[in-house]
Amino acid sequence: MSLPCGTRNYSYATDIAIIRTKTQWVMFIAFLLLIFSFPFYFPRFWLDVMNLIGITIIAIIGLNILVGYCGQLSIGHAGFMAVGAYTTAILTANFQIPFLLALLLSGIAAGLIGLLFGVPSMRVKGFYLAITTIAAQFIIIWIINHWTDVTKGSMGLGVDAASIGPLSFDSEASQYFLIISITALCVLFATNLARSRAGRAFIAVRDNDLAAEVMGINVFSYKLLAFFLGCFFAGIAGSLFAQWRGHITPEDFTFQQSILYIGILIIGGLGTSIGPIIGVVFIRLLEQFVTLLAPLVERSFPDIPSGFATGLSPMVFGLVMVVFLVLEPRGLAHRWNLFKASYRMWPFSY
């Protein structure tokens, strides 16, 4: 059930519209109002968590294009984010380039580096391809650490908060508006991309690249396109991350993070447009939850041994991840679709 009951397609325009019914419009506007009113009643901590969520969503959307739609496993996404972040840091500080242009250039820089590491995908597949992306991760971070004239190595670079014309985004709330707006644009772009000619080609390549080739799809160029787009988003995310954080070092973009990103995407749901969003919100909130949990446990039960409360955080984090995957191995997006189908059918179960 991809559509509410009784909705029919009479023209091409209605067929391709994302929002179909009046109820959907009402809910969509209500959702936007809700999202954009957060800064008025949430303290800065939660706003900041949501900023982080927004940035991560952009990165995961890119990963979703690469892994979810095109089936090219990448375990070096944090490395590509680092390219974007450092591009922004260097461009805005050394060349006084306005933020929006730097944002775009960061995306392109990361995309081009992604293209470079995508070349082996001509011959290599699956886990064997993963190693070239792991290599990308390590090579990029190694270069940042050693090219100290430009990147200052482990000292890191300071980045000013973004500004567009007279608007300066230096508070949590203004950051929130900036990040959420760009995130929304990215979500829209990715959703439409998946339904376009390129998106369908990606899916064909993922499902069976030989068959895709026989159908006349240029497999290699579409794989490269996926690498470019996936890393472009990573670059955008990195750029936003840099100006959000204000200071970046190579230690912000670790291999462990790249692995976690893959985990987030799988938990959310591969190859869906809602999956990355659900996955990121789930994992980032879970992270905060376990961080707040440990001191709470220790305060409530003062007699437990000291290592217990701190060890609880990773334990709960891992356990929730395992339990959710065991119960919903196809990702939370799949469960979301089941839920939608069931309320559309309600009260009839068929």
Partner: protein, 294 residues
């Protein structure tokens, strides 16, 4: 020349230890096509368990090692039974993400049970170095190399001749066909996890007797990634060749390139080599080439 001999010997010996950890990875991949991201945590937790047996409970070494192996068997069984069995038949990537969650969980257990966070295992192997000409090697590495070679031979024989081993290979090839032949694939997965945990435990004991037990062991697990992929994911022989090869390239490469390119080049060499190898042999050195049909 003297230096080259030293680099070669060290590289080969260190590579054998990489190979050992990589064996644990290949074992699970070979039978169930799951990439085990919790490998480093398995190494970590079994090293701490050994510490608990030998130092905290003061058991003699032989008993401690036996208990560690029993612990590994239990761990392997439990992991398979409670996290992976419910996922049989689901997309492979979900299984991989489960091992990621498992890794966090095991890390938490380690913090709760052993908040000491850095420790040394008692001396298991004599630490007097052996001198080969002008080159030197510590006995620990020789023992480690010998043990990983022995494990490799045992596992290869098992997979080649034992009924269960053959069934495991068949499962990797085609799960449905194997089920149709009434092979209990539950038991096969369980067994492969048990084997993998035993190998990880032995590898953990060997590594931590050299470098101590710290959280860095988790990253050691990632190191095996490059070894297995270079060797071909499903080949034990691949691991045993690729491990020493990577060790060798790292040491010899770093030996002559550090002066030219800069410090830290050692960590990049394996990746550069692997990318080059991948472009020529996309399934690794000894990986099984899959013939694709539409």
């Amino acid at each position: 020349m003297e230096q080259l001999i030293q680099y070669t010997i060290t590289g080969l010996a260190v590579g054998m230890i990489y190979a050992l950890i990589a064996l644990g990875f290949a074992l699970i991949w070979k039978s169930s096509r799951v990439a085990n991201l919790a490998l480093g945590q398995l190494v970590l937790i079994s090293s701490w368990f050994t510490y608990g047996m030998l130092v905290q409970a003061r058991f003699p070494i032989w008993l401690g090692i036996i208990l560690t192996v029993i612990f590994a068997i239990f761990l392997g069984w439990a992991i398979e039974r409670f996290t992976l069995r419910p996922l049989i038949g689901q997309p492979a990537l979900s299984l991989i993400a489960v091992t990621l969650g498992l890794g966090y969980f095991l890390e938490g257990i380690v913090v709760v049970a052993w908040p000491i966070s850095v420790a040394k295992l008692p001396q298991i192997f004599p630490n007097e170095p052996v001198y080969i000409g002008s080159a030197v090697i510590s006995q620990e590495y020789l023992w480690a190399a010998g043990i990983s070679l022995a494990l490799f031979v045992l596992l290869s024989l098992f997979f080649k001749y034992h009924k269960m081993g053959i069934a495991m290979r068949a499962t990797a090839d085609d799960q449905l066909a194997v089920q149709a032949c009434a092979v209990p694939i539950n038991r096969i997965f369980s067994l492969s996890w048990i084997f993998a945990c035993i190998v990880a435990a032995i590898g953990g004991v060997l590594i931590s007797s050299i470098g101590g037990i710290t959280n860095a062991l988790i990253e050691t697990g990632f190191k095996s990634f490059s070894v297995v992929i270079l060797g071909g994911m499903d080949s034990f022989l691949g691991c045993m060749v690729a491990g020493p090869l990577i060790g060798l390239l790292e040491n010899v490469g770093a030996g002559y390139l550090t002066a030219i390119i800069g410090p830290g080049i050692k960590d990049l060499i394996p990746f550069v080599i692997i990318i080059l190898v991948m472009l020529i042999k996309p399934y690794g050195l000894f990986g099984e080439e899959r013939i694709e049909r539409i």
